[in-house]
């Protein structure tokens, strides 16, 4: 787990909010790839070249938005699959978790699968909720801002984001909460 905030290139595409389901934009252009995300540089080349895409698949570019009623699956079945996905990190599509921020009127939802590491996730949260997270250190938690990103794990405990390896975090995170103020300062400071 990287301790520095912006070690990787900013993957803006990953944090961009779109109406489409995550995974479609990046994966659909690379028919021979596995589900792992490619580095941003390759993706930008593929997406900017519709001819290459067509030559590979021999079809019109796949639709980016979900078509109403397609594929023809009943709602209760779709909902059931979605619930399954939220409880099983092994399945291929997104892990959606709710994100709340103290003081914000409504919650958001993000797909953890979109991010490859903590810096990406934290940057996305900063953009989504328009705030700044401090500098992380194991000893002192997030220093330098009044916010602390926390998550609820499988056991129902509230943990500070960043302490465990990323993969472990992804499979145990049930929801996120950005704590503010005195509650936030309490975390990671010898509590």
């Amino acid at each position: 787990m990287e301790g520095k905030a912006h070690e990787n290139d900013l993957n803006l595409k990953a944090t961009e909010l779109t109406l489409g389901l995550p995974g479609r934009d990046e994966i659909s252009d690379l028919p021979n790839q596995t589900k792992k995300r490619s580095p941003p540089a390759d993706l930008k080349n593929e997406e900017g070249n519709p001819d290459a895409k067509n030559a590979q698949k021999g079809t019109a570019p796949p639709a980016k938005e979900q078509i109403v009623g397609w594929p023809p699956i009943r709602s209760y079945r779709k909902n059931s699959l979605q619930v399954n996905k939220n409880t099983e990190a092994e399945t291929a599509a997104g892990i959606y978790v709710k994100v709340s921020m103290d003081g914000a009127p409504y919650l958001r939802k993000i797909d953890l699968r979109v991010y490859k590491c903590y810096p990406e996730l934290l940057k996305a949260l900063e953009v989504m909720f328009k705030f700044t997270i401090g500098q992380y250190s194991e000893r002192e938690g997030y220093k330098g801002s009044e916010y602390a990103p926390t998550y609820e794990d499988k056991d129902g405990d509230w943990m500070l984001v960043g302490d465990v390896p990323w993969d472990m975090f992804m499979s145990s995170c049930k929801k996120l909460r950005i704590m503010k103020g005195s509650e936030a300062r309490g975390l990671g400071c010898g509590v």
Binding site: L21, G23, R24, I27, S28, L30, P31, Q33, K35, K57, G58, T59, A60, P62, A63, Q66, I67, V68, G69, W70, P71, P72, I73, R74, S75, Y76, R77, K78, S80, L81, N84, T87, E88, T91, A92, A93
Partner: protein, 584 residues
């Protein structure tokens, strides 16, 4: 005209007629002569109405004064995929209200895709003392309060089936409304309910109903409760588990296994939400007796699925997710020689790239290995004409073939050609095909084949296919037995419809959405064919506010002797004789 005396007294004829069950046969005998019509209508007990707007309650009651069992269907099939806007119709209350006074001895009500309110359920509970069977399939509009009224009042209820309905779950306590004296339950399907049930009420209910044979629980019933229930109902033939998950404990497993193996008559299993694979072996003991297995919610991977199906040699019906993969379908083809129906659902339908290794090969294997397979629903991401030709050759006995290639308009992945010849082979070889759903890239030629060979076809579903009106024309002019046609996002328009207008009166219904049928053509159809209801469904506002040649959003045409309906919402208009003259 001189009256002829009947050769047989009425009672004898009635007795003879009682052996004639199907609607078509009953209809035929009623046309023999006036006295047979009269006798038949007085002794008809079962009624099936495939489109609730095709006839009115009053007409039904006038002709058939003593009905005991009624089946009604409401919304068009594409409502299942959210293509029919909320509020379109399908209200059952007027039917129940009319039948409450006319048919006090009504025993069975089966509804599909209808809007059922709590008020309706309360009226049913109050009006029909002999109610034995209530099936609400894919219905909506009611809550657990309505169910409480049924539970409290229907003393003779044998079967309550909420099959895939959308129920507002207010509380799990409705089950407690079955009185302690109520013991007649034979079949209970509450799998669609979202919230927690009152487990003690459920257990007490199961304990006091010795004739219980079918029990489909909902997801909230945990695995550790299942063993208890099974011990109370060892004669079950059909079980839907709740969530099939619990922390692994050998003692829990042992108890569950024993309880399941005690149900020696189990033929059908379903449920299996949230499966913890280590608990699967608990069902192995009854697998040899299984004829029907629904694993379509079970997110278990191919190896576990293979292990399971290879122990079910008598399986006739399998519903499963595409986690089964080609290798699992190969195993299925090896082990389950009695397989009649297969449905493979997509585990990840909204992603373009495959997440599992399920291809056309799986379908080829089962079509080759399972000689009795006649009904298939198959979601996959790649297909080839060669595969379809092979499948058609392997299995000419298909009666229902529904293929959904997930990405619209993609071609044969080997040749990059449309699937015209592939589906052509299906309709040509499968001479008993009654239901067909097509997908992938298709030209008008595909529909030429379907019109030429699909002579027994009764229901056809088309999406994102065809080039022009010619495609629709081939179908309407060729498929002699077509009853239901549903089309979305195809370039079919006025010419084909108007040229084949008379055909529409021989069908139950036609649905077209996001096609190219103009408002003007709809008005013409409504004008020319008074025995059809031509409904224009358009949420953009009245079609008069747009040019005549502008295409309507959605079109639903159905034959009816009841005339236009009066319960339409603001975005539905019926084109009738006057519509061409009406201003707004």
């Amino acid at each position: 005209m001189p009256k002829r005396a009947n050769s047989f007294p009425e009672e004898v004829l009635e007795y003879v007629f009682s052996f004639i069950q199907t609607d078509q046969d009953r209809s035929s005998i009623s046309t023999v002569c006036k006295s047979w019509y009269e006798i038949e209508r007085w002794c008809r007990r079962r009624i099936f109405i495939g489109n609730c707007y095709a006839v009115s309650p009053r007409m039904l009651i006038r002709r058939f004064p003593d009905v005991r069992s009624i089946e009604l269907k409401g919304k068009p099939h594409f409502a299942d995929f959210n293509l029919v806007p909320e509020g379109w119709g399908g209200y059952v209350y007027p039917w129940i209200a009319a039948m409450a006074s006319a048919y006090p001895w009504l025993e069975e009500i089966k509804l599909k895709r209808m809007v059922v309110t709590d008020e309706t359920l309360e009226l049913i509970a109050k009006s029909f003392k002999n109610m034995k069977l209530l099936v609400l399939s894919s219905c909506e509009g009611f809550s657990t309060d309505g169910l409480a009224a049924i539970a409290a009042n229907c003393r003779n209820l044998r079967e309550l089936d909420l099959h895939e309905s959308d129920v507002e779950d207010l509380s799990g306590h409705w089950l407690s409304h079955f009185p302690d004296t109520y013991t007649s339950l034979v079949s209970l399907n509450i799998a669609c309910l979202g919230s927690e049930l009152s487990f003690s009420a459920l257990e007490r209910l199961v304990a006091r109903c010795p004739n219980l044979r079918s029990l489909r629980l909902n997801r909230s019933v945990p695995l550790d409760r299942l063993a208890n229930l099974l011990r109370l109902a060892p004669r079950l033939t059909d079980l839907g588990t709740g969530a099939y998950s619990a922390e692994w404990r050998p003692d829990v497993f042992a108890i569950l296994s024993r309880a399941i193996s005690g149900c020696k008559e189990l033929k059908s299993l379903s449920g299996f939400w949230d499966v913890v694979p280590s608990y699967l072996p608990a069902i192995y003991s009854i697998c040899p007796g299984l004829t029907s297995l629904n694993l379509s919610y079970a997110t278990i991977q191919s190896p576990a699925l293979v292990k399971l199906v290879s122990q079910c040699p008598n399986l006739q019906r399998l519903w499963v997710l595409d986690y089964i993969e080609d290798v699992g379908l190969d195993a299925l083809a090896e082990s389950c020689k009695d397989l009649r129906e297969l449905r493979v659902f997509p585990s990840d339908p909204f992603v373009v790239e495959p997440n599992v290794s399920l291809t056309e090969q799986g379908l080829i294997s089962v079509s080759e290995g399972c000689p009795k397979l006649h009904s298939v629903l198959y979601f996959c991401r790649q297909m080839s004409n060669d595969a379809l030709i092979t499948i058609a050759r392997n299995q000419p006995n298909f009666t229902c073939f529904r293929l959904c290639i997930i990405e619209p308009k993609i071609p044969d992945y080997l040749t990059l050609q449309p699937f015209d010849v592939g589906f052509g082979a299906i309709v040509e070889n499968c001479k008993n095909l009654r239901r067909l759903s097509v997908s992938g890239l298709l030209t008008d030629q595909a529909f030429d084949y379907i019109g030429t060979y699909g002579k027994k076809l009764e229901m056809l579903s088309i999406a994102f296919a065809g080039d022009s009106d010619l495609g629709l024309h081939h179908i309407l002019s060729g498929c002699d037995n077509l009853r239901k046609l549903e089309i979305r996002d195809c370039p079919f328009g006025d010419k084909a419809l108007l040229a084949n207008a008379a055909k529409l009166e021989t069908m139950r219904s036609l649905w077209m959405s996001s096609c190219s049928v103009s408002y003007g053509a709809c008005k013409l159809l409504g004008q020319r064919l008074p025995r059809l209801n031509v409904e224009v469904i358009d949420e953009r506002g009245h079609p008069e506010s747009r040019p005549e040649n502008s295409p309507v959003e959605k079109l639903y045409i159905y034959r009816s002797v009841a005339g236009p309906r009066f319960d339409m919402p603001g975005f539905v208009w019926t084109m009738d004789e006057d519509s061409a003259l009406r201003v707004t």
